[in-house]
Symmetry: C2
Subunit: 156 residues, 2 copies
């Protein structure tokens, strides 16, 4: 783990023993990459919020994916609605055994494992103001570049 | 080296035997990081152009730095003016022995080595249209995130 000044900590997805949600995030990221999305995991769109996966499409579309490994993981999440103002599409990513009836209407659904994923239900589009998109895109850019720098030059 | 679909090749700065210009780029990146900039090396702002270093500041400022290891390296560069429409500040980064009298007026000057750098002359600010800034910021974001993904998940 590296601290990046005022930026964000590099997530521990590369650690030896990733958590179930991190494995889902990897599968999600691989699938979104096939759709042309560049993804960051554990992205902070605002103070106190941390998205499991934020994807940016070729036209700058911003998709948020929250990864839930089990019912308890989902039921303990009281924050997910706070992410809606910071993306244009909101998805849950769960494994094939997850009781998907629990998931709120209007949200997207991705079935994932550690290796790949599939979009089962495309969510409603959410409004995203131009000024907020601009800030999110800039913060996404800076976070990704600073994490990359730190991996390539650990003395940074 | 990895090919990232339609995106950009990961530069070989991490290779065992980096070129002199790449060592300057590392020093530049370290210094700009201290100023709060997130940097990408070998960033392509448009087809046929490749900047040695593109830095993005906390407010989204876009600075281009071209690294020149010697007089011949500078004199063989016929493209640098093409970068001006894609940044707000344009700098040369050279080592302490470089004959800086050669460098064009109005451009910035950074003296660098492999470990650090210092801004000697701040260049004039260049105009950057809002639409182009938007595209550059998006492309910077996607390039950084895709390179990061590829480093962390080589099977992507």
């Amino acid at each position: 783990m590296f601290i990046l000044g005022d930026m964000q900590i590099i997530p521990s997805q590369t650690s030896i023993d990733p958590k179930p949600g991190q494995l889902l995030a990897r599968g999600v990221t691989r699938h979104l990459a096939q759709l042309g999305f560049a993804c960051l995991d554990e992205f902070k769109p605002a103070r106190g919020l941390r998205m499991d996966v934020m994807g940016m499409g070729k036209k700058g579309e911003l998709w948020c994916v929250e990864c839930k490994s089990c019912r308890a993981d989902f039921q303990s999440d009281s924050k997910w609605q706070n992410y809606l103002p910071y993306c244009e599409r909101f998805f849950w990513a769960v494994d094939a055994d997850f009781p998907t009836d629990l998931l709120p209407e209007g949200t997207g659904l991705i079935i994932a494992d550690a290796y790949d994923a599939e979009i089962i239900r495309m969510p409603d589009a959410l409004p995203l103001a131009a000024a907020r998109r601009k800030v999110l895109t800039r913060d996404f850019a800076r976070t990704a570049a600073l994490r990359l720098q730190t991996l390539r030059d650990p003395r940074l």
